[in-house]
Point group: D2
Chain length 478, copies 4
């Protein structure tokens, strides 16, 4: 189970938005569209001039919306803005983003003055003035755009497109930060509704699942239908302003035992079993749908509420677990660039990875000793490879931060091309035990402690070198 | 038509919250609950100690909700907080409010440091740090409380109760400001749905109308039913998180001509007329329902959208107007403390007002000359009596700011006790002409210009002195 | 608990419709509207002629609807008929009913011929012809009227009005029989939906409850609200073609013990108790709403389904019982016209009944001995007074036929004027024990056996003579 | 456009059910299951005995449901019956159908006696008795089965399976007749709701369209999605007891001009046009979904209501027409077994048909003269080939009976394999003009008159032989 964007910030609220770090509040920003136009008058081709004219039209409407007129004709002006924005072609949208970043920003001088005033007199009055001074006019602009019919959807879409340009345009980070700030307020958990997705659900929504599912792609309607049968469950969060758009959804299989392998679960021809006899609820996929809501976390809440829902509906369930990839394992292994020597023969990791990738899925040409060795390496990776104090693997970070326990490693759990390429075929079961979740989370948050089963702890503890150097090591100890 | 709370800030977004002006950010705030307890240990009675203990329990849960644990068990902890809060009795709630004001506030030193840092280096990084520094932890606390089942309702109720205490506790203004800030974001027009209220509507919602209607009280279910007949319309805004709670509602009568008098409209026995033959949509009452949402304005949007809805349903409608009181007129007149001399006889305004109040409704003992005189005074009051650059009358301010035109004054338009007492029986028709609304609003907002019909302009223009023959009257006093 | 019409046929499907027994298929029926007109041309006044003209207009539309044109323009013609019918005034409706009875009836000659043909050749072909021959064209007419918008409601209303005239017009019994036949098919239990009625329900539906409740009148909205609080339940059957019209509804109180008295239950100021602590579900009122559906039984299904619903929601419930009147008791006692002698003093029943009626409710001037005597008489009445092989008391017949047990008699259980007048203040608890219901019903249906508690059996067994020491009392008179 | 079963009785109410004609009421029917068992005891294999035992179990439950117990425990017993029935395997179901036909039938002796009694005394009492006598107990059984959860669906399914066996088992016609009789009553137009089918509709319902569409098969979800775009409409009738099951649906294309060809309409890649600019609503497919409701006609109502709906939504629409096949044309032509001589060369029709079938679709090897000749023959077929007084072509019968006009013949309008094989590639536009529909229908119903455009009348009038014999005939006249 993995959020389909590997960016960890996606699913962690605590981190300050990484886009907001460049120094973008300087006077360069103040370049208005007009000046841009002037400087370009010479060489620009007709197309660019057209784009700028279109962008300028949207900006003018934005100004009207922020003006006095916006107070009384807000909804109409907001409709004007969203329609004009949605009609923009790529170049014009780029120009519009430039202007959003430049024109509706803060005036650092104002902020400085308000800060000085507060320094001189730290009263509530001057505090309120400072609070107002540090909020860019853009936020109020976005709030007013939201009044349009379909305004929320337009803003979420705007941020999605903006994010695509952010790497090339770090000066737009402030725009992104403002949108994210608003979305975190608007998409508060208290405003979301959990809905079960069934075959009875609107095709409009089901189609979205097919489009968005990024962990284990849905191969058309027949595949989807199997995922909605009696022994499967699917839940999504919806926001009232986006009634046909799932924000995040989770797919669950109700099984007798804790599954280790992905492919049998996804087989559209697998027999449907009686959910009443299930003892395990397996979360085999969780997908964030709205790229424009990056940084607003839903997954944590979703898993916990679904655990509660399922517990009510099926009191016999004992285990709530995921079947997740280890998406950073192969890359980590490759980068180690060392060798594993087994049975007195030495092989580069590179060659092992390639062997896996080329192998037939059901008969991997990896001998049992190497399999054990790789399993130990995977445990080490998950337990000990860190970015800061937390695991470097994005999926591990997500579930461990949610309070899950790293329960079991499964060799050849995912033999799909991407499963082999990224996770060397490994899957992990993270187990959610509600009474322990809070404790695990706190330990993880404070000290980076990873809760793992004894077996995984044992696997991760073995010293690779000792292992390789000691010929007498009995194979059963792995 | 009048917002049922006369406070103008209720319906005007622009004004900075008036509660946020006291200097409440000082160290006195830092008094923790513990110290309060210590200082009180001697004399306090058991009751007070009990209340403080209850409040402390809520505060502890608030701290947990804001802590690491809150990240992973947010919904459960939020439920704990709301339930504990809702169980508080009056004294305990007071103690809780004190603590909210003290404990979850800003640290002015932090703000100062962040301001200094920004001064030294006005980069985006230091701006973001400053933005974070000026937001009190309380806001995040409230955001997390909102995750509880019924969390939004609990917070709106919390602010309602808080507002009741604000006059006596100006130090709580910051708490109020934080809630208001959140509510303005959450109750954005884009998240509201306009719903028609009919006799088919849930009794739960209809009962609220009976409870909330403050302009022209609803005298039970029979009265309500008349107000929902074929020649009446009622619309309300709802927020998805408060599905049974109208935020604001408006009552409309569909009539042939523009009515002048309130009482015939409200008669439950009046015959139901054919709405298809109506040419006038009369907004005779608009009521803000949620005291806890004071300062979040809905009325402006509501009127405009209802004008559009009605225009679509009844293309024959020509006039969209209100039938409104002049709630400040009587008080203004009394305060002038001068006399009106007519027919060479002079009478104090006081005596006229009393005569009106005592008179039988259908035969007021006011002669026609005095009636004209009072009408002129009323026009003068509405046109020329200002608070700042805008009219002092709250209802006039609301409709004129929305772009309406002051169309007609109606003598004895409202003969109810409160109509006589506050408005001397006058009613006003404010007319909404959509094509002019924006222009009117802008003139009003910029220069305070009041759009009025020629007749009212004429009435307001007549010099009282000529009339009253009192040379000493300074013009500026009118 | 009592069906609000005492006619037992209302709630018992088995009885053949009593209205269909007169010989109304004779040639007199063939009198067409035309002939009626001619014979009346002389003396009739303008009003009657007007009515006949209106009725004829409806009849003409009915003919069109039954004709070839009806096949292709059915819905339009059906709308025409219902609108024309609904516009009829009383006299015109009477004329229309006359014509319905005369014109769209069977031709006995056709029936006879088809019967002869079947006699001669009892094949399926001749059977089908006979089946068609015995169905009056009226049924097809009604089926086509049902295609109109609101057609079902119009037909139910038509029968309601028709039933009012049936006593005076026995020749219309065939029309009634046809409508009843259709309604029994259309209002099949399988097409009804059980809905819980709550305070959240549409005021349109709630208003109907106030109008229809005939057992214990609802005293306005406040009374209704109390009946929908947490410790009360209300359920109704609805048909999809009459979405705002409950067909039948039942009111339930959730209580600790089995209540004996009506008045405390109905007190709008009684405290609301926790339904989770209830052990008894008391059905204190059941009301058939649609007079036009008389003879189509719903009550039996409703009680059983509600017992199941409540059992699921509140697993702690142990007793499902009614609190019912004994509506025929007082009349039965008066008709006995004998005396009860107690304590060597003799009193006419008449005087006792009067004493009860006049007494203050809480201190009835009936001594304890007389109270016992009356209780025994009431038991005798319920157990032994029969109409055919079943009890003569309509409410007893209803619940015993449903399989309930006559559990307890309560002295002064209903001290309302009608409770005293009809039931001498007695109430009965009939208990529904699902595992026994079928057995009780079968015994009752086959032999008329009344299932009663031992206590009631004992009370009914005591010989009045022993008690009263009057040797002349014939046993058969009880 | 064509009902997907060519049986004309499917869509015409007037015809008596053809299945009810065999003499099946004789004593042979009285063979009870017991006797069947006895006669089979010798040779039957275990499987058959098993089936009979299963069937007997259902029959026993049916008897219980019809008994006294059924009165009080109806819903439960009805559930028992439907569950037991649904578990039957093919052989057991056959045995059950036998028993339904035998055991719950009429007793001809009873009918005879009631007929005699009515003959002797034609009173209402004896009429009612006769009416009861001619109704088999099976109908009451089915009415009670309908009380089960899912009872209506079970009965509709039961008839579907029964119909499959009717050809081999004419003695079951009475069972079919009883079900049809009930369904005609229950599925009265007044109880159906018209619903628009959109991409937003439940996938459960959309899947049904894919399964049921029989005129122009839907090639998966992508094809379906195209048929629900902005320039397409789809409507269906639903019954409240079968909420996920469309009864009949119609597919409409909104186009500029009246289309002649099927294939471009069905192209999933065709561009979506603006529905506001459409002047023609083309009904290109109408499908009865429930085989079990055969003989209950919906199509007529559906077309008319959809014409009204579309007229309201798109006031610019001028033409409401179908694009229909001529499904009987090829067979008719082949049966004529004569030759068409053109250009002095003679060709058998057989060879022409074969040429068409083999031809490449876009360049048919049919010369223009033969094309004209075939068009004339098609017109003759539609206008003059009769079964009784009505056209022999089933689709023509359906639309002409509905009052449509035979407007235009289109050469190579449907080049699909089945279009070529059945209709020789012809399509027909039947046009619905609401003001003329009633008149057309009546003429058709009374005299069999076919309303056709002048062009088609002219085409049908030309004598084939004359034509072929007269060399001077100008080609342009065709």
């Amino acid at each position: 189970m993995r959020a389909h964007v590997s960016d960890p910030d996606r699913t962690q609220d605590k981190t300050a938005p990484p886009h907001a770090r460049s120094n973008a509040a300087g006077p360069a920003h103040r370049q208005s569209l007009g000046r841009v136009l002037q400087s370009l008058i010479g060489p620009i081709d007709a197309r660019r001039s057209h784009a700028i004219r279109d962008a300028r039209r949207v900006v003018e409407r934005c100004r009207a919306l922020l003006s006095e007129r916006g107070e009384v004709s807000g909804a109409r002006l907001a409709n004007d803005v969203t329609q004009a924005y949605q009609a923009l072609e790529t170049a014009a949208r780029e120009a519009f983003f430039d202007d959003l970043a430049a024109e509706f920003s803060l005036d650092p001088a104002d902020v400085g003055a308000a800060a000085d005033a507060f320094r001189a007199d730290p009263s509530e009055v001057s505090l309120v003035r400072l609070q107002n001074a540090v909020e860019p006019p853009r936020r109020e602009l976005f709030r007013r755009i939201n009044m349009a019919k379909g305004g929320t959807a337009a803003l979420v879409d705007m941020r999605r497109r903006l994010l695509e340009t952010l790497a090339a345009h770090p000066e737009r980070a402030g725009v992104d930060a403002d949108l994210q700030k608003l979305f975190r307020s608007w998409f508060n958990r208290g405003f979301l509704s959990l809905q079960r997705i069934e075959w009875r659900t609107s095709a409009l929504v089901l189609e979205r699942l097919i489009q968005y599912e990024a962990v284990h792609q849905i191969q058309g309607w027949r595949d989807l239908r199997r995922r909605l049968e009696a022994d499967r469950r699917c839940y999504a969060f919806f926001h009232p302003a986006l009634p046909d758009e799932p924000l995040i959804f989770i797919e669950v299989a109700l099984t007798r035992r804790l599954p280790a392998r992905v492919q049998p679960l996804l087989d559209p021809d697998s027999p449907v079993t009686d959910p009443e006899s299930a003892e395990c609820a397996l979360f085999y996929s969780i997908t964030n749908c709205q790229e424009g809501l990056r940084g607003v976390s839903f997954g944590n809440f979703l898993i916990k509420q679904v655990v509660e829902e399922l517990g009510r509906e099926f009191p016999h369930l004992r285990t709530f677990a995921t079947l997740s990839p280890v998406p950073g394992f192969a890359a980590w292994l490759m980068n180690r660039n060392d060798t594993i020597t087994l049975d007195r023969r030495s092989a580069t990791l590179q060659s092992i990875v390639e062997a896996l990738g080329l192998s037939q899925r059901h008969q991997p040409p990896i001998d049992s000793a190497r399999q054990k060795q790789l399993t130990r390496l995977c445990a080490r990776y998950l337990l000990h490879d860190k970015r800061g104090q937390h695991p470097s693997d994005a999926v591990a970070r997500f579930h461990l931060a949610n309070g899950a326990c790293l329960e079991r490693l499964n060799w050849m759990g995912d033999t799909s091309p991407s499963g082999l390429a990224l996770s060397l075929g490994f899957t992990v079961n993270y187990v959610y035990r509600l009474p322990e979740v809070e404790r695990n989370h706190e330990a993880y948050a404070k000290t980076g402690a990873v809760t793992a089963s004894r077996e995984i702890q044992r696997l991760g503890r073995v010293d690779l070198r000792t292992d390789a150097a000691r010929p007498g090591q009995p194979p059963s100890s792995a």
